[in-house]
Structures are given as C-alpha cells and as structure tokens.
C-alpha cells in the first residue's frame, strides 16, 4: 500500500534551511494499522501530508498502491485524495454553518460524476460512527467526540483504501478518545489501511506496529 524510499522534506524559515524529514524509508501493507510516534516538531504531520499528497517531497520516492505519483498533476492528486484517501484531523475541521450530514457529504462535491446514492451513503457512514440520529445537528451542537466521529464518517464516505489520522484524539477526553480509536480500529478490520500520527504512547499502542520519528528520522 505504502512504500517510501529516502523521503526528505525541508523548509526555509528566516533564511535557515530546516530539514523536517530525512531519509524516511518504510513500508505499510494493505490492511495494516500503524502508528507514527514522536515528540512535537519531529515531522510526523509533515510525513502524513506527504503520504496524503497534500505536499510533495523534496527528494526520495513514494509509491502509493504501487504507483509513483510524483509527476502527477494537481487534478490527478485531488482525485486520489478524494476517493482513495480519508483524512481525520485533530481539529476535526468541520464546516460549522452546515449540518453534520452535509459535512459528511462534502467530499461528494468533488467527485467527477454525480452520486445519486450519496446521501444514503452519508447516512450509513453516520450510522457506522453511531450518529444516525445526529445528521441534522450543526457541529456546535455536538460534543468533541461526536464532532470527531462526524469527521471520521466524512473520511469514509468515498470508501477510501487509506485513512490518515493526525492526532485524532488530541482534542478529546480519554473516554471519547478511546471510543474514536476503537472505531478507527474497526475500519482496519474491514480491510482499510490506517496510518495514525500521535505523540501519545497509549494511543500508539493500539496499532499493529509503531514507527518512531525523532528529529525527522525514523529511529
């Protein structure tokens, strides 16, 4: 599913070159649940953005589903993000002016063709995260845990093969966090690959395998 070889990414900040990631080489198989762990500033999120085609590496290769997409254009990468990958963020990133159901349906907007089943699938996705009765609620009317579950439903709507979760429990209390992790784990059981980024060892231990990142390198 994921193969990286000597991935590197650096930023220039105040004219100083900062190497965020160096020599990142690892593989993740289909259906695997891995955690990328490391202190803040270790480059975890940057790595996740590279894996999700939200950013491009400076060097190295990244093969997703066996394909090197480094020369693909923005439209092609947008299509991959839309239908092959689901993102879950620490901040949930729900649009607060539209209902939970509309938030879940948001990725349908960027599909190439109309999806007549879209609303039904969104309802099923909400059901899958235990929020079948909350579809018409606005994000502000939901608890943090519920908001994150809406975000998970949104990540699932287009039936992706890969779920990328960036500190999904970072803004949640322990109980909600455990619930969210439990649900994420279940999606692995349905054959999806999950890459979760966290600084929390207890969270990371839910995964099949832990990759530790320190100062931009895998240790």
């Amino acid at each position: 599913m994921i193969e990286t070889e000597r991935l590197a990414k650096s930023y220039r900040k105040n004219n100083i070159l900062i190497h965020v990631l160096t020599d990142i080489t690892f593989e993740v198989s289909r259906g695997e649940f891995i955690a990328i762990m490391g202190p803040s500033g270790s480059g975890k999120s940057t790595l996740l953005h590279l894996l999700g085609f939200l950013d491009r590496p400076d060097a190295g290769t990244y093969r997703f589903e066996g394909k090197d997409l480094s020369s693909a254009d923005d439209n092609a990468l947008a299509a991959v993000r839309n239908s092959r990958i689901g993102f879950v963020f620490q901040q949930f990133h729900l649009l607060d002016r539209i209902s939970a159901l509309d938030n879940v349906m948001l990725p349908l907007l960027y599909l190439e063709a109309d999806d007549p089943e879209g609303e039904a699938r969104a309802a099923r996705a909400l059901q899958a995260v235990g929020l079948a009765d909350r579809g018409s609620h606005f994000p502000a009317e939901l608890s943090g845990g519920e908001q994150q579950r809406v975000a998970i439903a949104r990540a699932l709507i287009n039936d992706p093969v890969l779920i990328l979760a960036d500190e999904p429990t970072g803004n949640l209390d322990d109980k909600s966090g455990a619930d969210v992790l439990e649900r994420l784990g279940r999606f692995r059981d349905s054959g999806r690959t999950i890459v979760l980024v966290t600084h929390d060892r207890k969270v990371a231990e839910r995964a099949d395998r832990i990759l530790v990142l320190d100062s931009g390198r895998i240790t």
């Binding site: 939200l54 990133h93 599909l111 190439e112």
Partner: protein, 410 residues
C-alpha cells in the same frame, strides 16, 4: 449536474449560510447601485418631462425672420424685405452642427383660393418637406409635400381645416383641383385642426404649397420670410442661435456695428435652463455613484482577502477531501461575483423604491426602466469578477500542509 455546477451551487448555499458576512460584503456595492439606480430612474423621468416640454412648447425650434429687430414688433413679413434666401437655409443646414432639420418659408397674404362657385381669400405658404415636422403639425387627409413635389415645382396644395371647410363643405377635398390666384392646383392633403396661435395667427386659415412652386409660380420671387429649424440639443439653443447670427452676418456682408437684416427668434429658454441644471446635477450623482461602485468593489475585495486568511483551514480541508486548486479559485471568484450580483439586485430594488418615494413626495418624477437594472447587474458583475480575482488567487495559493495546523474553520 456537472461537477462545476455542483460546486457552484454549493458555493451559493455556503454564502446563504453565512448571511452576516455576505451581507456586509455586498453592502457597499448595494449602496452604490441604489444611488446609481435612483439617479438613472429620476434622470429618465426628467428627460421625459423635458421632452414633453420641448414638444409642447417647441423648445427645440429656432426661427430666422427676414428684417431686423423691428420685425418682432411688426411681424407683417409681407412687406417684402429681401434679405433671406434659400441659400441661407442650405448654409445653416450645412454648417451649424446642432441643427438637424431646416425648412425655408415664404408666405403671402391675399391669395385667392377658388373651387367651383366657392372662393376664399387666405394666406399661402411655400415650404419644404421638413416643415410639417418642424412646426409639429399633421395631415388629417392625404399627404404632405414630397421631395418630388419640390423638384418638379408641382402644382399641389395642402389646405388648412378652415379653408377646406370653406371650399369643400361636403368634404372630399383631396384630389380635387382648386385655383390659387387663377392657376390650377391639385389638393394633396388637408391639415388637422390647429386653431389660433399665441401670436394671433389662425393656422387653419392657410394654404401650403412647395417652396419651389411658390418661388417660381405662385409668388414669383426668390426671397424668404423665414427659415425654421429644429435643433438636436435644446439645451444649446442660445449657442446655436449665436452661430446662426454670425453665419448670416458674414453671408449678408454686414459690417461691424451695422444692424442685422434678419432676426433670430429663440424659444423661451426658461425650461432649458432648468434642464441644464438638472443634467449637471445628474452627471454629478452619476460620478458619485461610480465612485461608490468602485468603493463597493474594493470593500468586497478586502473582505474577501480577510476571509481567505480566516478560511485557510477550510480551504486546506477542501483540498484534502478532493478539491483541485482550480476548484478553490473558482469558488472564491464565484463568491465575489454572487455577492456583487446580490448587491446589485438589492441596490437596484432600493434605488427603485427611493425613486418611487421621491416621485410620490413630488420631489422628482421617476420613470422605471429596465436599463437601470441592466446597468446595475452588468457593472456589478464586472466589478465582482475584478474584485474576486486577487482573493481567488490568494485562496488558491493556500498551502494545505501549513493551513491544516491552524485552529478553526469559518
């Protein structure tokens, strides 16, 4: 629905969901459009009123009479002052820019008109085809003098209503042959009833023949009593009259200090002054509203730029769930356009309401025209697109990897 339409509809829905922000964005433009529409509606009303005045009082008609100033007080032009000629009329038509229609005029009293055993002594006029429009008269039966009649010195005549009644009490004058000073003329038409004018002349007691016919046959003389003309812009009558005076003085070789041998009669220009004043005010308000529109566009652009900064996480999220860079650009461009069009609509309605209010209060006379709406929609569409370009570029340049770390979504 195509992908583009789906995203466009979503953009409109999101704007509607963000009503306070959308309202603030369109406010400036709506105010500008409101002023613009009010001005246009009131200007259209003023124009219509002025046109009515012009038509009613002939404010666009200038008359040149043979003889000097004294003629005004003794307008018996039949005294035979030999000062004005057809060439003067042609020179005026050719050289004075504001003049759009000219007719030379000859007239003579004491012309005998006879049909069978009926006779009547009347005043005959020799005129050119534009004359009927210049004098705002009309033909009730038959036709007015044509260019062919002029060229052929045709023996045709049109009768005033009173003359027609006198010679043809049973009607049916058109096509009959009458005698004017003994010569046969075919009746080509009968005028509509006009009555007695302010100067005491009875318009219905007249016979009209082509100028060429009167000059060569009926009167047998080349000089004119009058030249009448219409101007395009009644507001510039004084200037036009001055140029005619200048032209004729040169043509008549009148030395400096010597009196004119003609008199240029202008229409009463009281209303003309009113028209000029209101048109100056209109231009000023047009200027003000143009500035307001530009300002409204800048308001949209600035609020959009602020919004792009605030909404960076939203933009990043959209990218993460499958939006292309071009989708983001189009979304923001479309937002600016829709906000501008909403502003245009709101402003146009407010302007119409304001104009209606001014009309009911008697302060102005508005005429609702689709033009004001079309101008509002079109200009705001352009302004919206222009105002949206820069923010849309900024939005498209948002780096999702950077923006996703930021806190909240709009």
């Amino acid at each position: 629905m195509s992908r583009g339409w789906r995203i466009a509809r979503h953009t409109a829905v999101m704007l509607a969901a963000n009503r306070p922000r959308t309202f603030l964005m369109m406010l400036g433009l709506a105010a500008g459009v409101a002023v613009l529409s009010t001005v246009m509606i009131v200007a259209a009303g003023t124009r219509r009123r002025v046109n009515e005045l012009v038509n009613k009082h002939g404010l666009d008609m200038v008359m040149v009479r043979a003889g000097g100033d004294v003629q005004v007080f003794a307008p018996t032009a039949d005294r035979g002052v030999e000062a004005l000629f057809d060439a003067d009329a042609r020179a005026i038509a050719g050289e004075i820019p504001n003049v759009r229609m000219v007719s030379p005029v000859q007239n003579q009293r004491g012309i005998s008109a006879v049909f069978e055993d009926r006779s009547h002594t009347t005043r005959a006029f020799g005129v050119a085809p534009p004359w009927i429009e210049i004098r705002r008269w009309g033909v009730a039966e038959g036709e007015f003098i044509s260019d062919a009649d002029m060229e052929g010195m045709a023996r045709v005549a049109l009768l005033g209503a009173a003359v027609a009644r006198r010679l043809f009490p049973e009607g049916g004058a058109v096509g009959r042959t009458i005698r004017l000073n003994g010569d046969p003329y075919t009746v080509k038409g009968v005028f509509i009833e006009m009555g007695v004018d302010a100067g005491g002349d009875d318009w219905d007691d007249r016979v009209i023949v082509p100028l060429t016919t009167s000059a060569r046959r009926l009167f047998g003389r080349p000089h004119l009593e009058q030249i009448v003309m219409l101007v395009s812009d009644p507001g510039r009558v004084p200037e036009t009259a001055a140029r005619i005076r200048e032209l004729l003085r040169v043509r008549h070789q009148i030395g400096a200090g010597d009196p004119d041998d003609f008199f240029v009669r202008e229409p009463a220009d009281v209303e003309g002054t009113a028209l000029e004043t209101s048109s100056a005010l209109t231009s000023l308000l047009f200027g003000v509203s143009a500035v307001a529109l530009v300002a409204g566009g800048l308001v949209i652009m600035n609020l959009m730029l602020v919004a792009v900064a605030q909404r960076a996480p939203e933009i990043a999220l959209r990218r993460a769930i499958g939006a292309r860079v071009s989708d983001i650009k189009r979304q923001f461009l479309l937002e600016a356009l829709l906000v501008a069009l909403a502003g245009a609509l709101a402003g146009a309605l407010a302007g119409a309401a304001a104009a209606l209010l001014l009309t009911t209060m008697g302060l102005a006379e508005g005429v609702l025209t689709w033009v004001s709406f079309a101008v509002a929609i079109l200009s705001c569409g352009v302004i919206g697109l222009l105002a949206g370009i820069y923010p849309a570029r900024k939005a498209a340049a948002v780096e999702p990897a950077v923006a996703l770390g930021e806190r909240r979504l709009a």
